[in-house]
């Protein structure tokens, strides 16, 4: 399957500082169609037909979520665009925002109309402050052109916290609180921001909306695979020749992205979905990239043959521990204990029980963590134990040899 541009079709073709260049490419036609010819229910039905799923990692069906918010019996509702993008190895939203802020604004305007929100927030991570002026300017231009009569679009900047990409933590942050996850239920569609029904969608998700409205949900369904319609915008980094952002049809093999497009050589393993993403070995590069198999937020990190997998997982665990919000024990303590095990393995103090302990800890964290951070943190640990078990065994064996040496030599 070749590269296919739906979400990023205008990137590089328009001037992100000038809305007229976007309108020349057919921009805002979908919004006009929505407001003039469609009811909110029509839009939701079109999105339901398309089977569009969220691109921020969890992959929830958009239409279903929007319908819940639409039907919630409150006057005040909110739409939040999640531009917190803090998954390790992910920068596609940065690319999309920088190259084409207008398609996002159009997607936001359509979505807000569909769910009945009068206010939309774009939650922009602090690290992307350099995009603030561009984004503010794009909103101003859309307003001047009369595209935002039904809606106030406001930008809220984060202050440096990975967890604020998680939707409930994000809402706490907008409310001026610590960015800690909330217990669910209630779900945001019922009681979200300021206790009002709220829809939170990723930048890329919302940027799919205009083309679905223009071409129809049935058209969208012809692209991709049975459970993953459309395309995905990937960020690729690590041991590759051409790191960057590539949009591919859902279901494309890992190999196409990693080898054909990004030019990776001597691949040992690929991690898909950031620090808590799955790790696959080189002999599984034919695996399709889709919700059914591997995806996450589309951050892909490549490791070549010189890399030590336990070191890679150790690094990821340091990140996850650092960014754990600390509210629930399994995540806060579990990531700490795992780091301790990896550190011992690294310095030659591993013990045979380490592998079993990692597995038991993984299971506990997946079952009992409050949010996706702690639930997903063990994924790379379990994958590496499955595919690269010998690397753990080698480290443990070396540790045992070291222990047997007389102290003066060790």
């Amino acid at each position: 399957m070749p590269e296919k541009q739906i979400v990023s079709m205008n990137c590089g073709k328009i001037d992100p500082d000038n809305i007229d260049t976007h309108i020349d490419q057919g921009g805002f036609k979908a919004l006009q169609k929505s407001l003039e010819k469609m009811t909110p229910e029509d839009i939701i039905n079109e999105i339901k037909t398309s089977e569009l799923k969220g691109r921020g990692g969890a992959g929830f069906l958009c239409g279903t979520k929007w319908e819940l918010a639409r039907k919630a019996g409150e006057n005040q509702k909110y739409l939040i665009c999640n531009a917190d993008e803090s998954e390790v190895g992910t920068f596609k939203d940065r690319h999309l925002l920088a190259k084409d802020p207008f398609t996002l604004i159009e997607g936001i305007a359509i979505t807000a109309y569909a769910i009945g929100a009068q206010t939309a927030f774009i939650y922009l991570r602090a690290e992307y402050h350099f995009l603030l002026d561009l984004l503010t300017n794009a909103i101003e231009q859309a307003k001047e052109k009369g595209f935002l009569k039904h809606l106030a679009v406001q930008i809220r900047e984060g202050a440096g916290a990975y967890i604020c990409g998680e939707e409930s933590a994000l809402m706490n942050s907008i409310e001026g609180r610590r960015g800690e996850s909330r217990y669910k239920p209630p779900f945001p569609t019922e009681k979200g921001l300021f206790d009002k029904p709220t829809i939170i969608n990723n930048v890329e998700t919302l940027m799919n909306v205009p083309q679905i409205i223009l071409n129809g949900g049935e058209w969208f369904k012809t692209i991709g695979t049975g459970n993953s319609r459309g395309t995905k915008v990937f960020s690729i980094s690590g041991d590759v020749e051409k790191p960057g952002v590539y949009e591919l049809e859902m279901g494309s093999p890992v190999k196409e992205l990693v080898v054909t497009l990004a030019g990776a050589k001597n691949i040992k393993a690929v991690q898909v979905g950031g620090a808590s993403g799955s790790i696959i070995p080189f002999d599984q590069l034919d695996t399709p990239l889709s919700f059914e198999t591997l995806l996450g937020s589309g951050g892909v990190i490549v490791f070549n043959n010189e890399r030590d997998i336990t070191d890679m997982v150790h690094q990821s665990m340091i990140f996850l521990s650092e960014e754990s919000c600390g509210k629930c024990t399994p995540c806060r303590e579990g990531t700490e204990v795992m780091i301790e095990i990896f550190r011992r393995l690294e310095i030659g103090e591993g013990v045979p029980e380490d592998m079993e302990n990692l597995e038991a800890l993984s299971e506990a964290m997946m079952l009992s963590s409050l949010c996706g951070l702690g639930q997903a943190a063990p994924i790379p640990v379990l994958d590496s134990l499955k595919y690269f078990r010998s690397e753990y065994e080698d480290r443990i064996e070396k540790s045992q040899i070291l222990r047997r040496l007389p102290r003066s030599i060790a």
Partner: protein
């Protein structure tokens, strides 16, 4: 610093403005002064410890004074794979401090941070709000010299 609220208006502010207020204070004073926490808590009708709780939660806010320029070097995998440790070492050598510290002249603070979304140009760092990518130890001096 006693009357922190003079520079940043606290009138008509609500709880939801708290993060923005703290960010303004950070920009203005290079940290969140104790007095500002007290004033803000009073203005928003919140207990001080809640304001402090927010101020201490976020990586871009600091209750200790930071330098004029804050260097944030990414320490996550894609940067690590591109030798970010070498970059960290050369910054440490160049400005003579370790992560978590501020130079005695108050010019630079150094922090190690999580992925800044610049992995396509790894290794990368932020200096204030500027992203610098494709770093090499040679380029560090050149870049840091532009911040005085």
């Amino acid at each position: 610093m006693e009357r922190a609220s003079q520079d940043i208006s606290l009138s008509d502010k609500k709880r939801e403005d708290l993060l923005m207020l703290l960010k303004s204070a950070q920009a203005e004073y290079r940290h969140i002064p104790r007095a500002f926490i007290v004033d803000t808590a009073k203005a928003l009708g919140l207990p001080e410890n809640q304001v402090f709780g927010v101020a201490s939660f976020y990586a871009f806010l600091s209750v200790e004074p930071l330098g004029k320029h804050v260097i944030r070097i990414c320490q996550n995998l894609p940067c690590y794979l591109k030798n970010s440790r070498m970059i960290i070492d050369s910054v440490k050598k160049k400005i003579g401090i370790i992560p978590g510290e501020t130079t005695p002249d108050g010019r630079f603070s150094l922090e190690l941070v999580s992925c800044i979304g610049a992995c396509d140009v790894a290794p990368a760092m932020l200096v204030n709000h500027d992203v610098h990518g494709n770093l090499t130890p040679q380029r560090i001096s050149e870049i840091l010299n532009t911040y005085d």
